[in-house]
């Protein structure tokens, strides 16, 4: 188990390197560069060329990449082209907000999804099961930005219960209540698709598990139904669920980009969108690198969890 984890950890480096190459290429090969966007339609050729030289964009791509990588391995992600601030500090400063949002969404989708899935599986074809099937179809097919705006219009504009955007009230605030109020709509929006996926998967694995012989045996022994479902059923159904939750963690990190933009949530997502629109290369590369690292670590954690849930994996 330990050698397995160590080997997985050693792979983090090459994965990040690969990600950085891809992001670097995509950014630099897509048409329009930072100078073009900064200067806008007014730009003269001389202005463009001068700015490109100042930004180091006239050198061959491999040289630019090598220079950037040289700094990165020393822990320096460079300076944002337009914000005039070091990228690392900027990304880490925003990362907390993204973690709060995706963490809450992950918690909502896991707890909510498993609860719904178990409830549907124990009462197949009941009203709850059918409603949950319809809700799943709805949840999985709604785009995040649309759902976000609909929730915003209902809960912020019509009912006035929750604030529409931001992380804290503009006038200060800043306590936990203030944060929770602002967190509600973006977290639910972000979790919506995941909760349905987790619920459907939980339902099908639970149905399968509950049909096993050992469940019948447990029931025959006279074990209380609640224990049959939770201890004998759910525990054994958890492996595929954990896998899908791990995948959802990555999906949520990606989905946060849209959700954050809709709700003006001050996370890495809004920062990345700002960076992409301005072709702020160092900023986007920094954001992607940090998000990719986070994604890799989540995957690692999921693998470690398998072992914890299923001793057979530990022994292999």
């Amino acid at each position: 188990m330990r050698t397995y984890l160590v080997r997985r950890l050693l792979l983090v480096g090459p994965v990040l390197l690969g990600v950085s190459v891809v992001v670097f290429m995509v950014l630099h090969l897509s048409p329009g560069d930072p100078a073009e966007i900064m200067l806008g339609p007014q730009a003269t050729k001389e202005d463009l060329e001068r700015l490109r030289t100042e930004l180091g964009l006239t050198e061959p791509l491999p040289v630019q990449y090598a220079r950037w990588l040289g700094h990165v391995v020393q822990g320096d992600l460079g300076r944002s082209l337009w914000m005039k601030r070091p990228v690392l500090g900027e990304v880490l400063g925003r990362f907390q907000a993204t973690l709060i949002l995706t963490g809450t969404a992950l918690l909502l989708s896991t707890v909510g999804g498993i609860a719904l899935g178990v409830a549907s599986a124990t009462r197949p074809n009941s009203l709850l099961d059918r409603l949950s099937a319809v809700a799943s179809l709805f949840g999985a097919s709604m785009p995040v930005f649309w759902l976000g705006i609909v929730l915003m219009v209902i809960f912020a504009l019509w009912l006035g219960w929750l604030p529409a955007s931001g992380m804290y009230s503009p006038y200060g605030g800043g306590d936990l209540r203030d944060l929770l109020a602002h967190l509600a709509l973006p977290a639910i929006t972000l979790a919506a698709a995941s909760v349905t996926i987790v619920a459907r998967l939980t339902r099908s694995t639970m149905l399968e598990t509950l049909g096993q012989d050992y469940i019948r045996t447990a029931r025959a022994k006279g074990v209380v139904e609640r224990l049959v479902v939770l201890r004998h059923g759910l525990r054994n159904a958890l492996i595929p669920i954990v896998t899908v939750v791990g995948v959802q963690a990555g999906y949520l990190l990606g989905g946060a980009v849209l959700t954050e933009t809709v709700f003006a949530w001050p996370g890495v997502g809004t920062l990345m969108v700002q960076g992409i629109l301005a072709r702020d290369f160092p900023l986007v590369q920094g954001c992607v690198l940090v998000v990719a690292l986070c994604f890799v670590l989540v995957n690692l954690a999921v693998d470690a969890l398998y072992a914890w849930f299923d001793p057979r994996i530990r022994l292999e």
Binding site: G32, Q42, M83, V153, L162, Y171, R177, L180, L183, L271
Partner: protein, 514 residues
């Protein structure tokens, strides 16, 4: 829903439309976060709208127009045929850090941008230094309160440029103190001083009690970046914003009758046009370009797509400003005339072409919807247009290839000096890729008029030259003229005394809060 409900229960009491608004604090919703707060290092309105509260220029615009009035300079004289500008500076003005505003500070603010050997030149990128200040030869501090700019060549629009954000005067002490980090710690002489910036959340400004015009009435300004239109609108309607601008046309009807807000409109110094590549066939024929102007129903675009947030344009210059030709009328919508002209030009059967449109972009209003109407208008007279939509950055890059046939573009000069609109957009020396003139039309008489109007300093003479130029441009149109944007904003009912400025600036210092 149960999750939403539990959040509501947890959070009830601290939120909702009744959230306390501290007296004297104004909350402004920005479309995007400013990139940084050094006026010399930004090019977007979201940044300059904040920066102009903190730093000021020698020349200013009054609160209702873009004519020129004294700012940090009390007066100025233009000498030696437009080759020297001498500014008398306002006395007793101090920067927010307590250091004096004087001739040395003015010299410093310009030299850091234009002199490559200046110790603070390398600390920043000054994107428009050559566009704005390329004609300056030197800046001399004559005495403590007098500055002289010596020019390489005359440029009649120089004073207008001196009212632009890039000409704002910064505290040399602050620039020296912060170095490359100055753009995050701006210090000027303006009505507000910079307090703090929580990234992605808010910028806080506080009133400058020693402001030379006298302190403003608002105590604090909080600027919140909210990209999503619906979110900005909702925050405004629920009392979490006092002022929001750049509202999409579709929201206006919803706002007009709302009891909590007042809708504001203001003409912007801007032009939206459909560029035509005059070098490509069949667009080299004047009759084809005239026909296209007759074919497009710009009144319908303004009314139905823009919901009244535009003024149909007759030419490139904003009507009502000193350089505009008052006799100019927009091309009427006349498809029959268009068909006739096309037939005369030998295109009775029509032809096919391509129109490049950015999905969005600074000053582009509703580009795809507008282009779609133009496409169907042109189709009606036999011109089959294929729309190609592109992302803004890709679009700008592609326009440098000169392969365009038709393209949608706009220009927000933010002031009324025609030199800063027609010269870059219509003088043949400015052809892309060297300059921003992408319609590639050439007319020696027009070039001559635009050049002369640049060299003469008398405004009356300049106006006459620009009027002649506009008559040529309308008769032999290099573009399809579409509209001049009317800005739309909305304020909460407690905001008094605010108007939208034609320069697209947000003058919150004029506001008092009920």
């Amino acid at each position: 829903m149960w999750i939403a409900a539990s959040f509501v229960l947890l959070a009830r009491g601290s939120v909702g439309p009744t959230a306390a608004q501290p007296a004297g604090t104004l909350v402004v919703g920005a479309v995007a976060e400013p990139v940084n707060l050094d006026a010399a290092q930004v090019t977007d309105f979201n940044s300059t709208r904040v920066i102009r509260r903190i730093t000021e220029a020698l020349v200013a615009f009054p609160d209702d127009s873009t004519q020129l009035v004294p700012g940090l300079a009390e007066s100025w004289t233009v000498g030696r045929d437009g080759l020297a500008y001498t500014f008398k500076l306002r006395k007793g003005v101090r920067f927010h850090d307590g250091t004096p505003f004087n001739a040395e500070a003015v010299k410093f603010s310009f030299e850091r941008q234009i002199d490559p050997n200046h110790p603070f030149n390398k600390l920043g990128k000054y994107p428009f230094a050559s566009f704005n200040f390329g004609t300056i030869k030197s800046v001399e501090a004559v005495d403590e309160h007098t500055v002289q700019f010596v020019m390489k060549e005359p440029r009649a629009s120089f004073l207008t440029i001196m009212a632009g954000a890039a000409a704002n005067i910064v505290s040399p002490t602050a620039v020296k103190k912060w170095g490359a980090d100055y753009p995050n710690h701006p210090v000027g002489t303006g009505p507000f001083r910079f307090v703090s910036w929580d990234r992605g959340q808010r910028i806080v400004l506080e009133k400058n009690p020693d402001y030379w015009k006298g302190p403003v009435k608002v105590e604090r300004v909080i600027v919140r970046p909210i990209v999503e239109d619906q979110a900005r609108l909702t925050e405004l309607l629920t009392g979490n914003l006092d002022l929001a601008v750049n509202l999409p046309p579709d929201f206006i009807a919803q706002l007009e009758n709302h009891p909590k807000v007042t809708v504001l409109r203001g003409q912007g110094a801007h032009v939206w046009y459909l560029g035509i590549n005059n070098q490509k066939k069949p667009f080299d024929d004047k009759r084809v370009r005239q026909a296209m102007n007759y074919a497009v129903n710009k009144e319908a675009i303004v009314r139905d797509v823009l919901k009244g947030t535009g003024l149909a344009s007759a030419g490139p210059v904003l009507p009502g400003t000193w350089g505009a030709e008052p006799g100019l009328k927009p091309y009427p919508y006349d498809p029959d005339r268009a068909r006739k002209l096309l037939a005369e030009a030998g295109h009775a059967a029509g032809f096919s072409t391509t129109l490049w449109v950015p999905e969005s972009g600074s000053g582009m209003q509703s580009p795809v919807a507008m282009a779609t109407v133009i496409q169907s208008n042109l189709k009606a007279v036999g011109i089959n247009v294929a729309l190609q939509t592109m992302e803004w950055g890709a679009f700008l890059a592609k326009l440098r290839t000169k392969e365009q046939e038709l393209f949608a573009l706009s220009w927000a000069a933010g002031n009324e000096d025609p030199d800063l609109v027609v010269y870059p957009l219509l003088h043949s020396s400015q052809w892309t890729p060297g300059g921003p003139y992408r319609a590639l039309y050439k007319n020696a008489r027009l070039d001559d008029l635009l050049q002369q109007a640049r060299l003469v300093t008398d405004q009356g003479k300049r106006a006459e030259l620009y009027r002649q130029a506009q008559r040529i441009l309308v008769d032999d149109p290099p573009w399809i003229f579409i509209d001049h944007e009317i800005q739309v904003g909305a304020v909460s009912k407690r905001v008094q005394g605010f108007t939208l400025h034609p320069s697209f600036d947000l003058r919150v210092e004029t506001i008092s809060l009920k």
